[in-house]
Symmetry: C2
Subunit: 468 residues, 2 copies
Amino acid sequence: MIRIVWLLALLVQVLSFIPARAQSFDFQQDSIFFRKLADDVLSSPAAYESLRVLCKTIGPRLAGSPGMYKSEAWAEKALQTAGADKVWKQAVQVPHWDRGGKDEAWYQYTDASGKKVKVVLDVLALGNSMGTGKNGLLKKAVLIHDFEELEKRKDELKDVIVIFNNVFNPRNLSVGQSYGESGAYRRSGPSRAAKYGAAAVLIRSVTASANDNHPHTGALAYDTAYPKIPAAAMGLKDADQLIAQLKAGKAVQVYYKSMAHFKPDATGHNIIGEFTGSEFPDKFITVGGHLDSWDPAEGAHDDGTGCVQSIEVIRAFKAMGYKPRHTIRVVLFANEENGLRGGSQYAKEAKTKNEQHVFALESDAGGFTPRSFGFTLEAAKLERIRQWVPLFVPYGVYQFANGGGGADIGPLNRSLGTPVAGLSPDGSRYFDLHHARNDVFEAVNKRELDLGALNMALLIYMIDKYGL
Amino acid sequence: MIRIVWLLALLVQVLSFIPARAQSFDFQQDSIFFRKLADDVLSSPAAYESLRVLCKTIGPRLAGSPGMYKSEAWAEKALQTAGADKVWKQAVQVPHWDRGGKDEAWYQYTDASGKKVKVVLDVLALGNSMGTGKNGLLKKAVLIHDFEELEKRKDELKDVIVIFNNVFNPRNLSVGQSYGESGAYRRSGPSRAAKYGAAAVLIRSVTASANDNHPHTGALAYDTAYPKIPAAAMGLKDADQLIAQLKAGKAVQVYYKSMAHFKPDATGHNIIGEFTGSEFPDKFITVGGHLDSWDPAEGAHDDGTGCVQSIEVIRAFKAMGYKPRHTIRVVLFANEENGLRGGSQYAKEAKTKNEQHVFALESDAGGFTPRSFGFTLEAAKLERIRQWVPLFVPYGVYQFANGGGGADIGPLNRSLGTPVAGLSPDGSRYFDLHHARNDVFEAVNKRELDLGALNMALLIYMIDKYGL
């Protein structure tokens, strides 16, 4: 016991000789900057009003559509208004998928009293899917719960419409994980059913939404080894009713009609605004979101918010009189939703021009209250910048997580090795409106949007100042 | 230098003698329990569906109103369904303020061309406020920005309607702080204007809402030294237009009519459900929200969510087969909004009966994603239980903050010294709908509601198991 007391006493002495852990930043000075930037961003109407214009005067802006061109003009103007030193367009060929009008679907079965019952389904063709032709398809429906069952029942799928009962798992602590799991049926379900001769596929929408019946579209990816069969998503209430009939053993026929098709590729653009660096004008920090959105809605949270948050970084720095050392590039990417051509083109040109990219940040998970950033970065570097987290906590970000980025900046990371990060806002509400007609401006809260933009600006300030 | 190296070597030796910091909990076992509880709560429809019934079949339930009685019956049934061992009602006399029908207001002024302009205002009488009589009041409007200006211009206020331009500060990092600051004009503004002879008061609603014109009611508190003058809140768009005319120097007259009045006190009840403790049946852990709500809406976030989250604690424990050591008391308090009589009665009876209260927890800040708990608790005890935080982080709570509780459990803390805490969810959206007609079931997200309930159950599990 005495030995331990002695050792403890000695420990206190020893500790007094060891300097506090070297901090790689100036807590006091930076926290003052943080507070000033917060005052500016939280009291500015800029980002929210800019989003209102994008959503309400342009709305849907899928690659190749008239909305795409209008949104490009909006983006150039918004970047100029924010004070960008230079605004330019980077051309890229984009696919042009067109829904071709309203999708139609219904099902019919014979009820217990022998009466034929016909029920209309609220559906949306999946992005990139082929249409049915103007007569549509009327086929027997077969309920399949998962890919395992699909394989077991492969002999029953010839010329039927497969109904995938992909349920969004509420138990996952990350909604992104549930989206990945359930979304597999949207992405590869059609081709996996086509492999066994299915005529079409309908899936439950990839959403947890409990209160509405909006179908949620989103891209599928055909496996070219099999026929490209038509596919659509159903609203959850409709899907649950249809699935209940099938579970009850009813013989159900489903009608589905879609005029979806591809038009020739179009020339779209990444819209880029730069704030030239005072010290390293040829070293770039990229911050962005994607400008395109699905056709049924305004693309407010996906990804209008990411666009206006990125533009806000330049506006706020200019308003503060902050001169970044590196060139800050705001990039509003083309064609994230059904091709990723914008992000690929940006990385390709960066490589061709041998550009030096210090860091890239994307916001494409909704304009909700920020909770963390997810980094794809060497472990030791991530460990070092985690010292900054206490600076962020008052503004809502309390974690720098390992892993993350964004679809559009992924190519930059893969081809140039650029460290990347993604803003991770609260995810509870995102998949309620993702790719659906309720993804509208009114679903965005000004304070949540501004807090996201603020944290993005704060992170860029820190990386610009201290490097990675 | 050598000396430092020697000391460092010694330090390593010393550290090896010191046991790891004693943990006051079993991280592994508890984290398994947390995960199981999460699986149950996140996949259960119970809390959300119960809230739907409360909001959609009962709706407004202000103290003394018909809705109050209906909600009491709902609460008893909901607690029984959740599996409470014992459900009982604690009677309490509550005030019965009645709006007396639709409030009316408009203003008029002469425009630049000499034409009289009349504009209707969307208003709600403040809770507890007196009416104007059936003829209403038509008076000169005087714009006052803050209490400082009120004092300076006290000689101009005789027989006018004071328009308070209380702006919700977007810069505060805590929206509760902005609510406190701006809300002072709702609570004490009327009497402070009455002191100088004002006939009535209209305030900007205490809200940050940028997208609608709903007025937000809420209690005022008259200073009995002065006349009890009528007072109401205006929707923000209307308020801003009226204030713009006054700022431009226009002579504006405002008409306001309200038939608000008090009826005799009524007998309301705290509705209490108990899960009897296995080891300390006479020691209580209270968890609750308030059952009453303002009259213009469904009281979804304020505080239907707190009620169903509290009930969910019992349901989930029963579903898990978890037997708490202490008696868990779910208390749905009467009359929080305009009297706090329920909370006061609960503490009074606890004191009279000499009950032992270990801890009390309230959820009354909206059913949004949880971020932290705020504790009113001895500093050393708070420091000790902060070791638990890593267990909570995966479920959304990353802070145990110093300071907090809830209006209804405040009396328990003050009269018995019971440690208390409040759930602190994300606050960005709360004051957009607080006390307004858009506080409806559809504004509640199932996952956010469930995450709040889950974290409440987790905290109670830990305190039940390890004490404070």
